[in-house]
Amino acid sequence: MAPLCLIKKEGVEMGLFIQQIVNGIALGSIYALIALGYTMVYGIIRLINFAHGDIYMLGAFVGYFALTTYKLPFGVSLALAMLIPALLGMLIERVAYRPLRKAPSIAVLITAIGVSLLIENLAMLWFSPDPRPFPQIFPLRPLELSGIRVSIPQVIVFITAVILMMALNFLVQKTKVGKAMRAVSQDKEAASLMGIDINRIISLTFALGSALAGAAGVMVGVIYPRIQPLMGVMPGLKAFVAAVLGGIGSIPGAMLGGLIMGLTESLVTALISSTWRDAIAFSLLIVILLVKPTGILGKSMREKV
């Protein structure tokens, strides 16, 4: 059944609009999950981790192999797709970034680009560059909510993203380790005088950010069931834009920026044309940064994890 037939004729335009908002929120929550990793790592060591988009790709592949080759249940696959990228994120930090802790930031940035290219090419070597179909675990049958079609995968993605973000927020705001993370992001020297092992906290931050990106990789497989080794490049860049848009270093900013990115893309595709999608999304970045250089929720001087 064609989707729009279900909507009353005079309601078509409005229905389409709301439909695109639903799509945009689903896509936006994926961007938000990736953006969180950028913003947390930036908040704690002032590094734009360009390999982050590739971690997201690896999450998608771990999920893929867990679901197909090993026939694991979805929950277990998602957990693995968070755990393995988390370990990898820690390894990357330990091997590539920690030795450069005192190096000029440009050296670290170039290293990050190098790590990104390394992961992409290893992935093409191991997984082959051909796209693979992500298994469809959830029925594609849409749910009807007063004329708006919401697909079950979209609902799953949105709910999972919200749960993960709430968990992250709880961790950062309420737990001892979260306090330590904020302390390290605000003042490293003072943090170590409190007895906080800074390297451990930085390592943990990479693990958390990478786990969220890994989850996003599975989420994207659930909605857009095609994965390939270079799939992380564009979403990685857009999630980075989302993080900057929201105010890099700010966790709520990354969530908001992700949603704005997702909604913009989805609405531009529907109302204008998909060719304009990326151009308008990135123009939005330029406009917002011209008006507010620190991003929507970013503060100058003070930075949060």
Partner: protein, 234 residues
């Protein structure tokens, strides 16, 4: 309690400490005085493990802590209050204090210490939900000291607690330092305000360009002509 032997520290090519040695005994207040750039802060940071040393030895409670990282010393009771307070500005007073107790697992004792700290600094209790960055300079200094006390220190290293504070507030801070000392905490105090420092200390060391040039009882240092001339304003 603390024994510093022949400490040499470099910043790149600059030889900042050229063989500093001194002793802090249990229960004392010892002060390091000296001008700007003499090496006082460097000495403290080297003891607390923030700066690596080139040569020399640091003994704490009879054991070498040379090369031990800052975060591993806190749980041993060696705690530094850094110059310029360094409170966590985007966190509440309460969260700052919680971080002070980061290495401690004895929840009950931590809670008792929190009450003690609030007794010592009643103003912090009033402001416990306020962000530390919005406190006044004096309140931030109190918070930095209170935060250090939350880690249950045996030896407290205080770096310029009077910096940038009004004279009345300086007196208040120094009274509190004496009070902390009376509860059994040994104190190593670095100060530019030599007058104040010598008035509460048991003993003192004068540091000039990376060397200890004079040492003695606080009272005799305060009476020393050279010290008077150089650091006490006449």
């Amino acid at each position: 309690m603390l024994e510093i032997k022949n400490l040499h520290v470099y910043y790149g090519q600059i030889h900042a400490l050229k063989g500093v040695s001194f002793v802090v005994r249990k229960g004392e207040i010892v002060t390091l005085i000296g001008g700007n750039g003499a090496g006082k802060t460097t000495t403290l940071k080297t003891i607390s493990g923030l700066i690596p040393l080139k040569e020399g030895e640091i003994l704490y409670q009879g054991e070498s802590i040379t090369g031990v990282k800052a975060h591993d010393l806190v749980s041993q009771g060696l705690v530094q209050v850094p110059e310029g307070r360094h409170v966590f500005p985007s966190m509440s007073v309460q969260e700052n204090l919680d971080l002070g107790a980061y290495t401690r697992k004895d929840k009950k004792a931590v809670k008792e210490d929190l009450d003690k700290v609030f007794h010592l600094f009643p103003r912090l209790k009033e402001r416990r939900q306020q962000l530390a960055g919005t406190l006044s300079g004096g309140e931030q200094q109190m918070l930095a000291m209170a935060r250090a006390l939350m880690s249950s220190p045996k030896l407290l290293l205080l770096d310029e607690p009077s910096m940038g504070l009004a004279p009345l507030l300086v007196r208040e801070i120094f009274n509190i330092v004496t009070e902390i000392n009376s509860t059994g905490v040994t104190i190593l105090l670095v100060e530019q305000n030599a007058n104040m420092a010598l008035s509460i200390a048991n003993r003192g060391y004068v540091i000039e360009t990376g060397r200890v040039v004079l040492e003695g009882e606080a009272a005799s240092l305060a009476a020393n002509e050279a010290v008077k001339k150089a650091y006490l304003g006449g």
